[in-house]
């Protein structure tokens, strides 16, 4: 197999490596910890990469963002565009604009690779948010938020909010017509908060809209405050993940008390590095070929103009959609008023978010399941939860669609009003219908599980020591559709519901698992 030279070389390498780790160990006593790091097992399932994709796009965001910050001028000072050297964007010549906007124009046209960095930054943000949404859906539908992972669910939701705000503040920095319009709407939403609204906007904007304080403040928030929070929360998120170990889908040889997958070293170290490179690759290809946020076309922000078809970036579309669809209510009495934007802009998102924060505990109540879990649910095994998730995704999609109502109306040649009225009904009916369909679909899929011979869906067939057979389906859910799974293990004990129950002689005889 291996020659003597190879053995000697290996021995040398081993000694060199050990000398290295010894040097560190003598200072930090770290060998035991490092072993656990290198040997750590991470389960292999494609859906667990989504969080990593979010992390990778975050890294691209940070690197490209630092580059942009070296050129951006956070100032509302009015200047007239009249560049004397380099490339000049003719249509803007002679126009009044803020220094901030001018610096973005110069970065786009006069800094080599400046434009691709800007576009990479924006594309990375869109991909980041998409990955976060997908990641969150994966956590929800598979029940990964259950005990002991509620804290990471909460941290994750906070991250989602801050990341969306980070995206919004970044989108506002160029001070172009589109972003200025977005800021105007946000100003009005904050202004509408009962009691404190006007005080709050005057503090944030340093006075009446638009003022000159906001752009430098946004810069501080976008470059410093939010990134600090994101990195801090993400560190906690990942440390907790590390400590708790990752969940996994039920499957051959997997139980609540073991973990099956590949080692961090060398498997995941290389693969995660590779994935990061691939994510960067996609971002830079998009940045090179697909134009994004061409602020020189929108023009500088002026409070008296607006372009039709003003939309926020997609991840805030649902909030914009809610603002569009909300009926024309306002409450006025005793000289006070709760203005319209408050309800769709803050109250509705507030209620939805509260439900999401509380979901791990709502879920416990629904399934009367207070135990800790390391094995995930297949969505079909929890029809009610899956139904709620489907309803939420539907609501989210319809609201996002509502944000583009004018574009839809133009393309389909129907009246804008008709679409809004239709969507007004759809956002109520759609989620209910989605819930029912998802619920029924889960039940059908479960029933298919019960007759593996009639309709084989894969799975594991166990042979018990006395010669009987059962499937992992029987292990994972009881006879009633919505019964809480009884596979949870009390901590540390080797007990594994009826599946593992100390029966080391069990053997799996069929491999393909119906993973989801």
């Amino acid at each position: 197999m291996s020659t003597t030279e190879e053995r000697i070389a290996a021995q040398k390498r081993y000694r060199a490596a050990k000398a290295g780790t010894d040097t560190v160990d003598e200072r930090l006593g770290s060998s035991k910890f490092l072993t656990s790091v290198l040997d750590k097992i991470f389960p292999d399932h494609w859906s667990f990469m989504v969080g990593e994709i979010a992390m990778d796009s975050l890294i691209v965001l940070i690197v490209t963002g630092i580059y942009l910050a070296l050129f951006y001028v956070p100032s509302s000072k009015e200047v007239v565009y009249a560049p004397t050297s380099g490339h000049v964007y003719i249509p803007l010549v002679g126009q009044k604009m803020s220094e901030a906007y001018e610096s973005v124009i110069n970065l786009s046209f006069n800094v080599r690779f400046g434009l691709i960095m800007r576009q990479a930054h924006h594309w990375a943000a869109l991909i980041f948010l998409a990955a976060v949404f997908f990641h969150m859906a994966r956590i929800f539908f598979t029940g990964a938020f259950r005990k002991p992972r509620e804290i990471n669910w909460i941290i994750g939701l906070l991250l989602w909010q801050i990341v969306a705000l980070e995206g919004f503040t970044g989108y506002s920095l160029p001070d172009d017509l589109l972003s200025g319009t977005g800021l105007r709407v946000i100003y009005s939403i904050i202004e509408s908060i009962p009691f404190v609204g006007t005080w709050l906007v005057y503090a944030l904007w340093g006075g009446r809209f638009p003022g000159t304080s906001l752009i430098p403040r946004l810069f501080v928030v976008h470059e410093f405050l939010f990134p600090l929070l994101i990195i801090g929360l993400l560190t906690a998120h990942l440390m907790i993940l590390w400590h708790q170990k990752h969940t996994d889908f039920p499957g051959p040889g997997k139980t609540e008390t073991n973990i099956r997958g590949s080692r961090i070293w060398p498997q995941y170290a290389l693969k995660a590095g590779g994935l990061m490179m691939l994510v960067s690759s996609v971002i830079f290809l998009l940045a090179g070929f697909v134009q994004i946020n061409p602020v020189w076309i929108y023009g500088p922000y002026q409070p008296y103009t607006v372009s039709a078809g003003a939309q926020p970036d997609w991840y805030l579309g649902w909030q914009d959609g809610a603002v569009r669809l909300w009926p024309h209510w306002e409450f006025r009495s005793f000289g006070h008023e709760i203005a319209n934007p408050f309800f769709p802009g803050l109250l509705l998102p507030g209620i939805l978010l509260s439900i999401m924060f509380a979901w791990p505990w709502i879920d416990k109540k629904i399934y009367k399941d207070y135990k800790a879990h390391n094995l995930l649910d297949r969505p079909r095994d929890k029809p009610f939860r899956t139904g709620v998730g489907a309803a939420a995704v539907t609501l989210f999609s319809l609201l996002t669609m509502a944000s583009g109502t004018d574009i839809i109306a133009n393309n389909l040649h129907v009246s804008y009003e008709a679409i809004v009225v239709a969507l007004d009904y759809l956002v109520i009916i759609g989620p209910v219908v989605a819930f029912i369909i998802a619920y029924k679909a889960c039940q059908r899929l479960q029933e298919a599980d019960f007759h593996p011979i009639q309709r084989p869906v894969g799975g594991v067939i166990y042979r018990t020591p006395d010669g009987g057979y059962h499937t992992v389906g029987d292990v994972h859910h009881g006879p009633s559709h919505d019964a809480p799974a009884d596979t949870s293990a009390s901590h540390g004990a080797g007990d594994n519901g009826d599946g593992g129950a100390g029966s080391g002689s069990e053997r799996s005889v069929s491999a393909p698992a119906a993973g989801d």
Binding site: D39, R208, T257, F284, V306, S307, G335
Partner: protein, 335 residues
């Protein structure tokens, strides 16, 4: 430097289950005891391994070429598409190579280990932590007065340290009720030119600003020449328009949408409706600009205008309550 090949932790799998498994850890009886995680995909297949090596090398060659290409693109004027292509290929080649390397030539796949006691402590430890906490809590609980005092002081001090926040911006007071318009303030165009009524044709629409402070964001106003259209005029708004030939003539309407403050800038001359492109609130100009569709709940305010001695359009006063002021979206003390 004491390691030898017989060491328990050799890199070459004498002890196949050396990875990460603590001998003291409770070992669930469903974890196979003798896994071999030194296997790799092309183990025992030197030809396959050679091919895999070549695939990886090819992927990294792409990166090499693309990096050189990137330098060329930079020197040659930094074309964005070419830069994106080079960058994409460079990252892509590196990534593909790394993943193939791990998949085809590296061990460490498909191992099973105990989760161990990952995040719960023994009962003894739990008792210990509760006791340690009690060491401070009990003496504190014995001094309820100090406890309450601390709460009160904390509250007041909390308010005190909020003062720097107050410097962030002025207090709103009645500022939101005012615009830059006022008695005799001329309406000027974007270029700063004052306007005579005759310059606005029938069904013409023009955005104007107060000459005294054209950049004030609540002041942009629309002059609309309604011609002979039937403009509804309640008694308190009589004389706010500039009649032309005894007809309705020119009216001045706030351009700031009462919904969320975008400029309501789309005008339909047939129906005399103003539409705000932000959330498509629609206002009927002939009926005091009242909202007829969309989320806005209030009409656009009207500015009383007149013609000054030189024949230019001026405001008679700032927007007033009778005209539907304050301008713009609602807030708590708008009332």
């Amino acid at each position: 430097m004491t390691g030898t090949l017989d060491d328990n932790r050799t890199p070459f799998g004498r002890n196949p289950r050396h990875f990460g498994i603590d001998p003291d850890e409770p070992w669930p009886d469903d974890v196979p005891m003798d896994q071999d995680d030194t296997r790799w995909r092309y183990q025992g297949d030197p030809k396959g391994a050679k091919k895999a090596e070549r695939r990886i090398a090819a992927a990294w060659t792409v990166t090499l070429l693309a990096s050189m290409g990137l330098a060329a693109v930079y020197v040659d004027g930094a074309n964005t598409q070419l830069a994106g292509l080079c960058w994409g290929l460079a990252f892509g080649g590196l990534g593909v190579g790394l993943i193939l390397w791990a998949r085809d030539l590296m061990p460490g796949h498909d191992v099973i280990a105990s989760r161990g006691h990952h995040n719960v402590s023994s009962e003894a430890d739990r008792v210990a932590v509760a006791e340690s906490l009690g060491r401070g809590l009990d003496p504190m609980a014995r001094r309820p007065f100090l406890f309450k005092m601390l709460g009160a002081v904390g509250g007041v001090f909390g308010l005190a340290i909020a003062f720097p926040i107050a410097s962030l911006g002025p207090r709103p007071h009645r500022n939101l009720y005012k615009t830059a318009w006022g008695k005799g303030v001329r309406a000027v165009t974007l270029e700063g030119k004052p306007i005579r009524p005759s310059e606005l044709p029938v069904n013409g629409i023009l955005t104007v600003f107060p000459e005294t402070d054209p950049s004030d964001a609540l002041s942009p106003t629309l002059l609309i020449n309604l011609g002979d259209a039937d403009y509804e005029t309640p008694p308190e708004r009589v004389g706010w328009n500039i009649p032309i030939d005894g007809k309705t003539g020119i009216v001045a309407i706030s351009k700031i949408c009462t919904h969320a403050g975008c400029p309501a800038s789309l005008y339909n001359v047939v129906t005399h409706q103003l539409v705000c492109p932000c959330h498509y609130s629609t206002f009927d100009v002939l009926q005091l600009c009242k909202p007829i569709f969309g989320p806005a709940a209030r009409g656009l305010p009207q500015l009383p205008i007149a013609v000054d001695a030189q024949g230019f359009i001026v405001a008679q006063a700032d927007y007033s309550r009778a005209g539907g002021a304050p301008v713009g979206p609602g807030f708590w003390n708008r009332g």
